[in-house]
């Protein structure tokens, strides 16, 4: 067991617990121009992750994430299953075998996740998806780490940027996902996935284990 693994476990557990806790809110976000099941899908899927949490292979952080990815694709349906599963899988692949994860490694893993999501969902920045919160947040994380911030501070920057970027999605017209069917009517409300990223990031930052 490494420190890296402990942090990874913390992040995954927090994402899972917060997804379950925010089921209703995430569902409401998705109901505005989507079909209202974003919260339900994440919550049901991450319940499985939590139920089996202790038995997940912990060889290293990368392996751990890859196993979580399989649990997600197996148990989360809808658009979120393949997207989030791909993201975890790519991040895990990027870190696999790495026993000494550095700040740039984390950034690289997150960028690998983004590439996976883009490829899987054929989405670009500005299409009003979770990418529009995730990508600027990763940029902020990178800048913060490069500036010498510690992990807790960097996580905080990530969260703050994710929140403002998620809120900014309300001005965008959806071009991917179910919300895109409503065309211009999607303008004026935030993207559920993007706001999901922000809420999860805030929880991660707020309860970051210090010491």
């Amino acid at each position: 067991m490494t420190d890296d693994l402990a942090v990874t476990e913390y992040v995954v557990r927090t994402i899972a617990e917060e997804s379950v806790a925010q089921e209703k809110y995430f569902g409401e976000l998705d109901a505005v121009v989507g079909d209202g099941d974003f919260g339900y899908s994440l919550a049901r899927g991450f319940e499985f992750v939590l139920a089996d949490f202790d038995s997940i292979d912990r060889t290293d952080a990368g392996t751990f994430l890859s196993k979580v990815a399989v649990m997600i694709t197996s148990h989360i349906g809808g658009t979120s299953g393949p997207l989030w599963g791909t993201a975890f899988l790519r991040a895990g692949g990027s870190l696999k075998g790495n026993e000494n994860i550095t700040g740039p490694d984390v950034v690289a893993a997150l960028r690998a996740a983004v590439e996976g999501i883009k490829k899987r969902g054929k989405a670009e920045l500005g299409d009003k998806t979770l990418l529009d919160a995730l990508v600027p947040a990763i940029d902020a994380l990178e800048t913060s780490l490069a500036a010498g911030d510690d992990a807790a501070a960097a996580a905080q920057k990530f969260a703050v940027t994710a929140r403002s970027a998620a809120e900014a999605t309300s001005t965008l017209e959806a071009r991917r996902g179910r919300a895109s069917y409503t065309g211009e009517r999607s303008i004026g409300s935030v993207d559920a996935g993007a706001m999901g990223i922000a809420v999860l990031a805030e929880k991660i930052a707020a309860t970051w284990p210090t010491g």
Binding site: G27, A31, V33, G34, D35, G36, D37, Y40, S41, R44, G45, T73, S74, H75, I76, G77, G78, T79, S80, G81, P82, L83, G85, R120, G121, R175, R176, G177, R178, A179, S180, Y181, T182, G183, R185
Partner: protein, 331 residues
Amino acid sequence: MKKFINDPKQFVPEMLEGIALANPDTLRYVPAYNLIHRADAPNHNKVTIIQGSGSGHEPAHVMTVGKGMLDGACPGDVFAAPPLDFITETVKLLASDKGVLLLVNNYTGDRMAFEMAEEVAEADGVNVKTLFIDDDVAVKDSTYTVGRRGVAGNFFVMKAVGAAAENGADLDELVRIGEKVNSVTRTMGIALTACTPPAKGEPLFDLGDDEIEIGVGIHGEPGRRREKWMPANDIADVLLDAIVPDLPFESGDRVAVMVNGLGGTPISELYLLYGIVHKKLEALGISVGRNYVGEYCTSLDMAGASLTLVKLDEEIETLLAAPAEIAIRVF
């Protein structure tokens, strides 16, 4: 929310169990993958046909499993594409030597899950092809968008490839037939009320007492625009004006017409609407070769209807007319 339900989380499994208990001779239920399949599948003399999609569209697709239609359906939860596992395990269990055809309504989640499943199945050595159905004219189709949705018109693709598979057609032939039927099928839907997903417990969107939503999808996604309620004659015009010029359907054409209820609209209203549409088509010189009035692809308890036209030729008409034995007999 007032439904016949115990626990929202058990809504889909308990419904599937009901289907299985009601059809003990013909169907099997595999709870782990929400899978309903023909008791005699896989049948190595025919291609296996599987359709996924979310739940909440019943009778599509779990109640259309049977001889002449699907070999299996493995829906996700309400309005959610099935997780990858459901599809890969279903394919494994039902794969025939003649191959597997996956029918997918064109939605992002479904596309992704089935594309991933196709990769997995191919890696396992299964001969599998995927066919995307996108009959909804309400959605603008361009490379810039996600493309049209698959809605009630999926019935005709299912029925045609189901009949052809029963006749021994090979996988490529089924893909040809399915693509052809899809290419001449057009649908447009209208919602009178929002639907209430069990897990949400309240209507998915607010629709005024005098408002209707035009061009709605089958997941309660808002449609093209909101308007004031209008008489059935005018609704028929709105639907036909969207559908007829799209293919286009023209004087002299022979079509199949489906008036599909979205779950909360009684059959009386659907037949009333059918009568109007029938006469308007006749006035356009378009003759109705086959008609389908009832519930084929619903949005839970949504009041509303969709209209589908299919341009018929001899091949399609013969396949549509072939017998089939499913839990719900709808043709």
